[in-house]
Symmetry: C2
Subunit: 643 residues, 2 copies
Amino acid sequence: MKLFLHLFFFFFCFLQAAVSIAPLQSTHPFDPLTKQEITLIQTIILNKYPTKRNHVKFHYVGLDDPDKATVLEWVSTGAPTTRNAFVIAIINSQVHELTINLRSSRLLSDNIHTGNGFPTLTVDEQSDALQLPFKHRPFVESIKKRGLNLSEVVCSGFTVGWYGETQSSKRVLRIECFMKEETANIYVRPINGITIVADLEQMEIIEYHDNAVEPVPKAENTEYRASHLKPPWGNWKFHIGYDVRAGVIISTASIYDPEVHKSRSVLYRGYISELFVPYQDPTEEWYYKTFFDAGEFGFGQSVVSLEPFNDCPPHAQFLDSYVVGRDGTPQLLHNAICVFEQYGGISWRHTETGIPNQEIREVRSDVTLIVRSVVTVGNYDNVLDWEFKTSGSIKPTISLSGMLEIKAVDITHKDEIKGDQHGTLVSENSIGVYHDHYYIYHLDFDIDGVDNSFVKTNMKTVEVNDQSSKRKSYWTTSSEVVKTESDAKIKLGFSPSELAVVNPNKKTSTGNEVGYRLVPNAAAHPLLTDDDFPQTRGAFTNYNVWVTPYNRTEKWAGGLYVDQSHGDDTLAVWTKQQRGIENKDIVLWYVVGIHHVPCQEDFPIMPLLSTGFELRPTNFFERNPVLKTLSPGIVKGPGCKKP
Amino acid sequence: MKLFLHLFFFFFCFLQAAVSIAPLQSTHPFDPLTKQEITLIQTIILNKYPTKRNHVKFHYVGLDDPDKATVLEWVSTGAPTTRNAFVIAIINSQVHELTINLRSSRLLSDNIHTGNGFPTLTVDEQSDALQLPFKHRPFVESIKKRGLNLSEVVCSGFTVGWYGETQSSKRVLRIECFMKEETANIYVRPINGITIVADLEQMEIIEYHDNAVEPVPKAENTEYRASHLKPPWGNWKFHIGYDVRAGVIISTASIYDPEVHKSRSVLYRGYISELFVPYQDPTEEWYYKTFFDAGEFGFGQSVVSLEPFNDCPPHAQFLDSYVVGRDGTPQLLHNAICVFEQYGGISWRHTETGIPNQEIREVRSDVTLIVRSVVTVGNYDNVLDWEFKTSGSIKPTISLSGMLEIKAVDITHKDEIKGDQHGTLVSENSIGVYHDHYYIYHLDFDIDGVDNSFVKTNMKTVEVNDQSSKRKSYWTTSSEVVKTESDAKIKLGFSPSELAVVNPNKKTSTGNEVGYRLVPNAAAHPLLTDDDFPQTRGAFTNYNVWVTPYNRTEKWAGGLYVDQSHGDDTLAVWTKQQRGIENKDIVLWYVVGIHHVPCQEDFPIMPLLSTGFELRPTNFFERNPVLKTLSPGIVKGPGCKKP
């Protein structure tokens, strides 16, 4: 019974990491019910309510949590806790709550629930209900009327919610049916237009309407079982560049489309254009600390050599680069970039239990490609990843490590603090000063061609006031093609929307514009006043998202000359031109921000703090592009046999 | 020259995944400058400006991006592009922008920049400037006055920004110095109180003040080189439970604190309390689809068997569990949960180039422990991970896969759409209906003991109006201990704050309350009206964060009986009691929401869409708890020799 164990996680010097699942002397108070305990519960309840005279259904059987105090006592001393079970059963159509002492095998309580709502449905009653339509003549006729083959129909059950009905309700299930003909993917082949409601207690259909005949969507391209598919390739093609200012640059990235048998362009260029780090201490020794790490110190110039095995896993490949000395001499930077595959995730999966006599489980494990570099500007280390997924997603990740900037103070305990110290006392005499990190990505999309548009799809509430629905509201979307760079300035987090770059000249077979969308992380907004000098220079942080027409010279969001700049050559200035961005070559700029309130764990060197975002294909492909791919084989590491 | 290559990423049926770094016939137009090209550039510029008569410094040497049209032409036909370099050099104190044709070895242009701002600093001039203080008598005296050893001092350079000065500025660098005595971690041992400004052109100190003597923070506990540390253990201890309604439950999680040599409690219980999935189609066949997957169908009851190698990597360990049939009989669920280690990340790192004659690079690779289960409710598959990091972080991740719910329509192309179809035409006759996924986590923290408080730390702008600083603004924090559950209801994303659960009865040696903070992802807010029936039942989504006093029976955010519930037993109702939550046993509830606008890639089965959050120690430890740990050894997989 592996589950009923403690799990210890440890690693030890020079030994390899190891998971140890070790048995305990005694069971944990939160151990799930054992097989024997479940059988005991069943016996006790059926002893009181013999099935000869009673109709008994177990809806919930679980542990009745012991009191916290006793659990904590067990944790520290091993003192035994109570071990009770809590059961919700429907007995003769009444909802019973029963508590059982598992040590004494005694029924402690048996109360009848009379309030609103019903217990979790049993799997068995759902299965039974889903057979009802096949014996219901009107349903058989509806199927016949549609010209469908009843033996290829399979049904599924849906809970019904509550819409203000005041009469006492019955336990019911709505049933919808699907075609399993030519595909295991029943959900995409609904037989719509039929309403079926089953009473779960009487186990009979109590409502049936055939309202309208809608075509059943075709089976073509819906199959997902590997045994029914021919695996194609999944394939990214991109260039990894390097620049002494930008660091790593991803260029001309395109992905192979298995449907059209060609590579399609996605990202012309992607790189971090600037990193703005304003500290938040206005005093004489600190006020000026408002750094632009890319423009002032050179992100590429600050790339450091990676350490094999530790910065990148053992199977990584490394790339070198050249930096340039003050006198113009090239200097080799060894292991500047590494590239490796990452495993352990899932690409897609589904377990299907809804088709009688067939259990289907299809799982594709994931393999992604990561391009990593580390930029160390003085005290901070920025770990910068570009992850490419076979599904078409690109996921950039930023992780912070290295040291805090520390201010020395004559304070050793928080109680001595008087006035604002502009940071956290992270150690004796050491204030970790408040600051922000704003990374701005230059993302020059070329979605299936150069001319693209930026589309903002807003979600908005629609109120239903005309009794046309039992619902009072729902949400829908309205899409807006953004016309100019002025309208494309967006502060994220205040209203729900999806942001996409699309190619209005290329459509899918069903007429959607092909595109990629930005899946952002939690947004940070600047807290400096607009007219403050650092904010003027870092005005590209005023919005999280910007879109500009492509201009070969607009590369650096903080300006070409940033050291002591006056903020007259920033993205915020360029976009005052109100240039058109519809169906044009456009660049999306995205700001990833972190407000950093230091804590003691960041001292004397901080464990990685990570954030990132996703560029995800959205109607770019006709369908899931990795539907037909198989899981990668087990990777044979150096010195390994295949397991 | 590996860097100057295309990188192809592919995987193929039955073959193991492989990265192929393959040479191209021709170089890519975005290939970084080669060593030979950099030397050529140096030669051309120094030919025009011989160093005998000129002072030349190279501040930027990079590729002058070819026109996009020519790059794209190269991508499709291989037609050659121009290959120019762009150089920013300071020649005799003037900033020159030079363009060079690398094919013809010709200088194409040479313009002088006269605007604001200066180029990226060279590494060499920074190094030179950092030696200046040691020859500056007042600095030597300042060090002596502080009783410090000059041979243990090391300096670092900082750009100065711009604060509205109108006279033409000089290229300057501010210099701060640090003690390297007894530690390589110079940044945490600043010698504060001294202002040093160096002119980078004249290479001399032009401003020097010794304002105040502050103690230099001690070296103790700041060292990070493995060679100077004794590695301790990193160790999580927790219980993995299972419940037919909740699925996986993490209990009594504690982490070993290497400073105090004992395990300290963090999380008493954590699990997903409910999953609310309202669809957004008000029509007769769809309006009722507002599911509560945990309460109506049972999250644990819907856990599916994991597939070794694909759902979990080859080295995973599996745990079984029992579900209960309608008749009360236990039924074995094989491979319900898996546990595995994940590699490839970095735990912490730093490269130190600031200490003369010493290069330091310390990198600890990461190993984390993941507990995974998959809950498949009908069409959707939810991949649910709990990740435990040695640094003390817990990172829950939710990933969606499986099938969309599809509505059949008599439409095959977007152009035929009339009116709101409440979804996306993801394939012929198939609307993927708009919906939300709201997961609510029950997180019963016991931070170093049972009685905890919930602290909201707000970041707020402070304007400087009194000329006390050259800054006009900065931000600071104000922390608020939240008194009652009513005040703890928080909609995330609208104002910057950090949310933490702390133990007000346990403080670090510097007086900070020990705690854990919530690092949220982008927040989703409900779009249904408050009075709509589904929203009343799912009112626990009205806020992203809630805090309640611990109550053994308040386990299910949507109520104990959810099927056809009226919303009278939800978290939103309980918290109307305005119970106190200060220095009490408290539970934090966190809602992870996704608004799902389907796209064609989600059809016929969707690639994983992931989101998650982090529970991160914040002043819980005295310092970085993995400072002294070493990287785990290379893992020897089954059938492998150690590489």
